[in-house]
Amino acid sequence: MIRLTRRYRFSASHRLHTSALSESENQALYGKCNNPYGHGHNYILEVSVAGPIDEQSGLVARLETLDTLVQSRLIGTLDHRNLNYDVPVFQSKVPTTENLLEEARRVLSAEWASAFPNGRPLLAGMRLLETNRNSVELTTLS
């Protein structure tokens, strides 16, 4: 098994706020991230795949297939968007880094089998960096 990781970048804005809490509770919980007009980040999404190296091609995955999948299903829907307004799932969910990674996992998992129909490679891990100082990671996906 070898593991290959590809990094993708997108920029988006969001506001962390839940209608389950009062204004002051939201402010106490989310701090600056609760500021009413929102703010943005340059996100980095790492997608890791794992599998055997194909003997003829020397590749664990065809990069173009992976790039097309991630770009079309994820990056294209998130880049230069306001997550709260432009991405339907975040009208009911708070767009924290955690929820954003869960959503990215849901989307990729649902599309994986049609992008890689022979079952290789596996989707092996995902990591989302909101800034250089904080990131969330899913280590087991398959």
């Binding site: 098994m1 070898i2 593991r3 290959l4 990781t5 590809r6 990094r7 993708y8 890791s48 794992a50 190296i53 003829q56 091609s57 020397g58 590749l59 664990v60 065809r62 990069l63 173009e64 092996a124 891990g125 990671e137 280590t139």
Partner: protein
């Protein structure tokens, strides 16, 4: 305890399989199949797994690790055209995957017991890297 040393080398390569036509190679590898080659600043992170020695306080002498990495990887590969100058890439396609496995193969004999070679991470660019942990490995340093 895991200890990681990072080294860099710059090399050129072409990704194309002799078993495929020019069009097939182009479709499979994209711009990496351009016949005259192109280059990268590779970053190699080698991770050892062992316990700190009671006397020295070290898992492994990093000077020695640097020498091993220089002798096995940097000196033979830095500023070289991998396909033409670094066997086995005259017959094996020098993808990042195959290069990581070859680096593992070269370094592994230096670590017969403790510390053992835990992981080889090879960055081809900032946005693309592979992890290889040997034939029995699960491919990842984050276990």
């Amino acid at each position: 305890m895991l200890i990681t040393r990072r080294v860099e080398f710059s090399a050129s390569h072409v990704c194309a399989s002799a078993a495929l036509s020019a069009e097939e190679n182009r479709a499979l590898y994209g711009a990496a199949a351009n016949p005259n080659g192109h280059g990268h600043n590779y970053i190699l992170e080698v991770t050892l797994d062992g316990e700190p020695d009671r006397t020295t306080g070290m898992v492994f002498d990093l000077k020695n690790l640097k020498e091993i990495l220089n002798d096995e990887v940097v000196y033979p590969m830095d500023h070289r055209f991998l396909n033409h100058e670094v066997p086995p890439f005259d017959r094996v396609v020098p993808t990042t995957e195959n290069l990581a496995v070859e680096i593992w193969r070269r370094i592994h004999p230096h670590f017969p017991a403790s510390p053992r070679l835990h992981n080889v991470r090879l960055y081809e660019t900032e946005d693309l890297f592979v992890d290889y942990g040997g034939e029995g490995g699960q491919g990842g340093a984050r276990e």
